[in-house]
Protein backbone atom coordinates (compact mmCIF):
# COMPACT_ATOMS: atom_id res chain seq x y z
CA UNK A 1 0.00 0.00 0.00
CA UNK A 2 1.27 3.49 -0.89
CA UNK A 3 2.16 5.77 2.00
CA UNK A 4 -0.38 8.54 2.42
CA UNK A 5 0.92 12.08 2.18
CA UNK A 6 -0.05 15.22 4.08
CA UNK A 7 1.09 18.65 2.91
CA UNK A 8 0.64 21.65 5.20
CA UNK A 9 1.24 25.33 4.56
CA UNK A 10 1.86 27.22 7.82
CA UNK A 11 1.46 30.96 7.43
CA UNK A 12 0.80 32.23 10.93
CA UNK A 13 3.30 33.07 13.64
CA UNK A 14 1.27 33.37 16.81
CA UNK A 15 1.16 30.97 19.76
CA UNK A 16 -2.42 29.83 19.10
CA UNK A 17 -1.91 29.32 15.37
CA UNK A 18 1.32 27.41 15.96
CA UNK A 19 -0.74 24.49 17.26
CA UNK A 20 -2.70 23.35 14.17
CA UNK A 21 0.24 22.58 11.86
CA UNK A 22 2.29 20.81 14.51
CA UNK A 23 -0.68 18.84 15.90
CA UNK A 24 -1.86 17.74 12.48
CA UNK A 25 1.66 16.90 11.36
CA UNK A 26 2.58 14.89 14.45
CA UNK A 27 -0.74 13.04 14.42
CA UNK A 28 -0.48 12.21 10.73
CA UNK A 29 3.11 11.05 11.16
CA UNK A 30 1.96 8.84 14.02
CA UNK A 31 -0.53 7.26 11.62
CA UNK A 32 2.23 6.55 9.15
CA UNK A 33 1.70 9.50 6.80
CA UNK A 34 4.60 11.15 5.04
CA UNK A 35 4.34 14.80 6.05
CA UNK A 36 5.83 18.06 4.86
CA UNK A 37 5.15 21.54 6.24
CA UNK A 38 5.92 24.61 4.18
CA UNK A 39 6.51 27.61 6.46
CA UNK A 40 5.99 30.92 4.74
CA UNK A 41 5.49 34.51 5.80
CA UNK A 42 4.74 34.71 9.54
CA UNK A 43 4.80 30.93 9.76
CA UNK A 44 8.59 31.17 9.66
CA UNK A 45 8.45 32.27 13.30
CA UNK A 46 7.62 28.64 14.15
CA UNK A 47 11.04 27.56 12.91
CA UNK A 48 13.01 29.97 15.09
CA UNK A 49 15.42 28.38 17.55
CA UNK A 50 13.78 30.19 20.45
CA UNK A 51 10.00 29.93 20.48
CA UNK A 52 9.48 31.97 23.63
CA UNK A 53 8.59 35.01 21.54
CA UNK A 54 5.36 33.45 20.26
CA UNK A 55 2.39 35.37 21.57
CA UNK A 56 -1.37 35.26 21.43
CA UNK A 57 -3.38 38.42 20.95
CA UNK A 58 -6.93 38.82 22.16
CA UNK A 59 -7.04 42.17 20.35
CA UNK A 60 -9.42 42.00 17.41
CA UNK A 61 -10.05 38.34 18.20
CA UNK A 62 -13.65 38.07 19.43
CA UNK A 63 -13.46 34.28 19.35
CA UNK A 64 -10.87 34.15 22.11
CA UNK A 65 -12.32 33.79 25.59
CA UNK A 66 -10.40 35.62 28.31
CA UNK A 67 -10.52 33.33 31.30
CA UNK A 68 -8.24 33.03 34.28
CA UNK A 69 -6.24 29.78 34.65
CA UNK A 70 -6.20 30.00 38.45
CA UNK A 71 -8.56 30.38 41.37
CA UNK A 72 -11.79 28.58 42.26
CA UNK A 73 -13.97 27.05 39.54
CA UNK A 74 -16.50 29.90 39.49
CA UNK A 75 -13.66 32.40 39.00
CA UNK A 76 -12.11 30.38 36.19
CA UNK A 77 -15.50 30.30 34.49
CA UNK A 78 -15.77 34.08 34.16
CA UNK A 79 -15.22 35.40 30.65
CA UNK A 80 -13.52 38.77 31.03
CA UNK A 81 -15.11 40.67 28.20
CA UNK A 82 -12.63 43.52 27.86
CA UNK A 83 -13.27 45.97 25.00
CA UNK A 84 -10.70 46.12 22.21
CA UNK A 85 -10.12 49.81 22.88
CA UNK A 86 -8.98 49.02 26.42
CA UNK A 87 -6.83 46.08 25.28
CA UNK A 88 -5.02 48.26 22.78
CA UNK A 89 -4.26 50.94 25.36
CA UNK A 90 -3.04 48.81 28.25
CA UNK A 91 0.73 48.23 27.95
CA UNK A 92 1.71 44.58 28.22
CA UNK A 93 -1.81 43.31 27.66
CA UNK A 94 -0.64 40.88 24.95
CA UNK A 95 2.10 39.53 27.20
CA UNK A 96 -0.40 39.05 30.00
CA UNK A 97 -2.81 37.21 27.70
CA UNK A 98 0.06 35.03 26.47
CA UNK A 99 1.14 34.17 30.01
CA UNK A 100 -2.45 33.26 30.92
CA UNK A 101 -2.80 31.14 27.78
CA UNK A 102 0.45 29.30 28.51
CA UNK A 103 -0.70 28.61 32.07
CA UNK A 104 -4.04 27.30 30.76
CA UNK A 105 -2.15 25.04 28.35
CA UNK A 106 0.04 23.74 31.20
CA UNK A 107 -2.94 23.24 33.52
CA UNK A 108 -4.62 21.03 30.96
CA UNK A 109 -1.54 18.95 30.23
CA UNK A 110 -1.48 20.05 26.59
CA UNK A 111 1.87 19.53 24.87
CA UNK A 112 3.78 22.76 24.29
CA UNK A 113 4.82 24.07 20.88
CA UNK A 114 8.53 23.24 21.42
CA UNK A 115 7.50 19.70 22.37
CA UNK A 116 5.24 19.28 19.35
CA UNK A 117 7.93 20.60 17.04
CA UNK A 118 10.43 18.19 18.58
CA UNK A 119 7.96 15.33 18.05
CA UNK A 120 7.53 16.32 14.41
CA UNK A 121 11.27 16.43 13.82
CA UNK A 122 11.78 13.07 15.46
CA UNK A 123 8.89 11.63 13.46
CA UNK A 124 10.69 12.77 10.31
CA UNK A 125 8.21 15.43 9.31
CA UNK A 126 9.97 17.51 6.66
CA UNK A 127 10.08 21.20 7.53
CA UNK A 128 10.58 23.60 4.65
CA UNK A 129 11.25 27.30 5.19
CA UNK A 130 10.29 29.69 2.42
CA UNK A 131 13.58 31.18 1.26
CA UNK A 132 11.88 34.18 -0.35
CA UNK A 133 10.28 35.12 2.95
CA UNK A 134 13.55 34.59 4.79
CA UNK A 135 15.11 37.16 2.45
CA UNK A 136 12.08 39.44 2.52
CA UNK A 137 12.03 39.69 6.30
CA UNK A 138 15.81 39.92 6.59
CA UNK A 139 16.14 36.71 8.56
CA UNK A 140 19.28 34.63 8.64
CA UNK A 141 19.49 30.85 8.46
CA UNK A 142 21.25 31.00 11.82
CA UNK A 143 17.95 32.25 13.33
CA UNK A 144 16.33 28.91 12.60
CA UNK A 145 16.68 25.38 13.92
CA UNK A 146 18.98 22.97 12.17
CA UNK A 147 17.71 20.31 9.82
CA UNK A 148 15.20 22.35 7.87
CA UNK A 149 15.21 22.68 4.13
CA UNK A 150 14.87 26.00 2.34
CA UNK A 151 12.95 26.34 -0.86
CA UNK A 152 10.13 28.02 -2.66
CA UNK A 153 6.64 27.15 -3.74
CA UNK A 154 7.96 25.00 -6.56
CA UNK A 155 9.92 22.86 -4.09
CA UNK A 156 6.80 22.36 -1.99
CA UNK A 157 4.55 21.63 -4.96
CA UNK A 158 6.67 18.64 -5.91
CA UNK A 159 5.33 17.02 -2.75
CA UNK A 160 1.98 18.82 -2.42
CA UNK A 161 0.98 17.87 -5.95
CA UNK A 162 1.15 14.22 -5.00
CA UNK A 163 -0.33 14.58 -1.53
CA UNK A 164 -3.58 13.01 -0.40
CA UNK A 165 -4.38 15.96 1.86
CA UNK A 166 -3.15 19.53 1.48
CA UNK A 167 -4.12 22.17 4.02
CA UNK A 168 -3.46 25.88 4.24
CA UNK A 169 -3.24 27.12 7.81
Amino acid sequence: MDTKKLALIATKGSLDWAYPPFILASTAAALGYEVQIFFTFYGLQLLKKDLSHLKVSPLGNPGMPMKMPFGPKWFKGINWNIPNAVQSLVPGYESLATALMKQTIRNNGVASIPELRELCIEAEVKLIGCQMTVDLFGFDHADFIDGIEYGGAATFFEFAGESDICLYI
Binding site: L31, G32, G109, A111, E122
Partner: protein, 116 residues
Amino acid sequence: MNITLAEKNLDIRLSPAAEHALAQRQTPLLAEMELLFSCLIRKRVRFGDLTAEDAIPASDRLSVRFRPVMTRVCAMADVTGSPPLDDFPIANPRPYVPRWLAIDYRRGQWLGEFGY
Protein backbone atom coordinates in the same frame (compact mmCIF):
# COMPACT_ATOMS: atom_id res chain seq x y z
CA MET B 1 16.95 6.17 37.06
CA ASN B 2 16.81 5.33 33.36
CA ILE B 3 14.96 2.72 31.38
CA THR B 4 14.59 1.97 27.69
CA LEU B 5 11.15 2.26 26.11
CA ALA B 6 10.73 1.56 22.40
CA GLU B 7 14.52 1.79 21.98
CA LYS B 8 14.53 5.24 23.56
CA ASN B 9 16.05 6.29 26.85
CA LEU B 10 13.58 7.49 29.47
CA ASP B 11 14.92 9.47 32.41
CA ILE B 12 12.74 8.89 35.48
CA ARG B 13 12.98 11.58 38.14
CA LEU B 14 11.52 10.81 41.54
CA SER B 15 11.00 13.51 44.14
CA PRO B 16 12.16 12.66 47.68
CA ALA B 17 8.49 12.30 48.71
CA ALA B 18 7.87 9.92 45.81
CA GLU B 19 10.94 7.85 46.71
CA HIS B 20 9.75 7.62 50.31
CA ALA B 21 6.17 6.69 49.30
CA LEU B 22 7.44 4.08 46.84
CA ALA B 23 9.57 2.49 49.54
CA GLN B 24 6.44 2.05 51.68
CA ARG B 25 4.50 0.20 48.98
CA GLN B 26 3.81 -3.52 49.15
CA THR B 27 2.87 -3.80 45.48
CA PRO B 28 4.51 -2.21 42.44
CA LEU B 29 3.19 1.12 41.21
CA LEU B 30 2.31 1.45 37.54
CA ALA B 31 2.91 4.87 35.99
CA GLU B 32 1.21 5.08 32.62
CA MET B 33 2.28 7.93 30.36
CA GLU B 34 -0.80 8.66 28.32
CA LEU B 35 -0.52 10.71 25.14
CA LEU B 36 -3.95 11.68 23.86
CA PHE B 37 -4.27 12.52 20.19
CA SER B 38 -7.23 14.80 19.67
CA CYS B 39 -7.76 18.40 18.54
CA LEU B 40 -4.86 19.04 20.89
CA ILE B 41 -2.21 16.60 22.04
CA ARG B 42 -2.55 16.12 25.75
CA LYS B 43 -0.15 14.48 28.18
CA ARG B 44 -1.18 12.80 31.38
CA VAL B 45 0.35 10.32 33.81
CA ARG B 46 -2.08 7.81 35.27
CA PHE B 47 -1.14 5.73 38.30
CA GLY B 48 -2.40 2.32 39.30
CA ASP B 49 -1.62 -0.97 40.92
CA LEU B 50 -2.30 -3.23 37.98
CA THR B 51 0.67 -4.19 35.90
CA ALA B 52 0.07 -4.06 32.18
CA GLU B 53 1.73 -6.67 30.01
CA ASP B 54 3.83 -4.12 28.17
CA ALA B 55 4.90 -2.22 31.31
CA ILE B 56 8.64 -1.92 31.79
CA PRO B 57 9.94 -2.36 35.35
CA ALA B 58 12.05 0.59 36.45
CA SER B 59 12.61 -0.93 39.89
CA ASP B 60 10.99 -3.63 42.01
CA ARG B 61 8.37 -1.07 43.07
CA LEU B 62 7.79 0.94 39.91
CA SER B 63 6.74 -0.01 36.40
CA VAL B 64 6.30 2.36 33.50
CA ARG B 65 4.18 2.17 30.39
CA PHE B 66 3.63 4.45 27.40
CA ARG B 67 0.12 4.50 26.00
CA PRO B 68 -0.90 6.61 22.99
CA VAL B 69 -4.68 6.99 22.92
CA MET B 70 -7.42 8.72 21.01
CA THR B 71 -10.98 9.72 21.74
CA ARG B 72 -13.79 10.73 19.46
CA VAL B 73 -15.08 13.08 22.15
CA CYS B 74 -12.75 16.04 22.31
CA ALA B 75 -13.32 17.26 25.83
CA MET B 76 -10.88 18.78 28.30
CA ALA B 77 -13.06 17.20 31.01
CA ASP B 78 -11.39 13.94 30.01
CA VAL B 79 -8.46 15.08 32.13
CA THR B 80 -10.14 13.49 35.12
CA GLY B 81 -12.22 10.37 35.41
CA SER B 82 -12.32 7.58 32.87
CA PRO B 83 -12.78 8.97 29.38
CA PRO B 84 -13.78 6.64 26.54
CA LEU B 85 -10.27 6.16 25.24
CA ASP B 86 -9.11 3.79 22.53
CA ASP B 87 -5.56 2.79 21.79
CA PHE B 88 -4.08 4.93 19.03
CA PRO B 89 -2.41 2.85 16.34
CA ILE B 90 0.96 4.59 16.08
CA ALA B 91 2.95 3.33 13.12
CA ASN B 92 6.30 4.11 14.73
CA PRO B 93 5.99 4.87 18.48
CA ARG B 94 9.63 5.76 19.05
CA PRO B 95 9.39 9.52 18.31
CA TYR B 96 6.42 9.82 20.64
CA VAL B 97 7.97 8.07 23.62
CA PRO B 98 8.89 10.75 26.18
CA ARG B 99 12.45 11.53 27.19
CA TRP B 100 11.67 12.17 30.85
CA LEU B 101 9.11 11.29 33.48
CA ALA B 102 8.84 13.15 36.79
CA ILE B 103 6.94 11.59 39.68
CA ASP B 104 5.93 13.28 42.91
CA TYR B 105 3.77 12.30 45.86
CA ARG B 106 1.75 15.01 47.58
CA ARG B 107 -1.14 14.86 50.05
CA GLY B 108 -1.57 11.13 49.52
CA GLN B 109 -1.70 11.40 45.74
CA TRP B 110 0.71 10.45 43.01
CA LEU B 111 1.51 13.23 40.56
CA GLY B 112 3.31 12.81 37.29
CA GLU B 113 4.50 14.78 34.34
CA PHE B 114 6.41 13.80 31.24
CA GLY B 115 8.02 15.60 28.38
CA TYR B 116 10.35 15.59 25.43
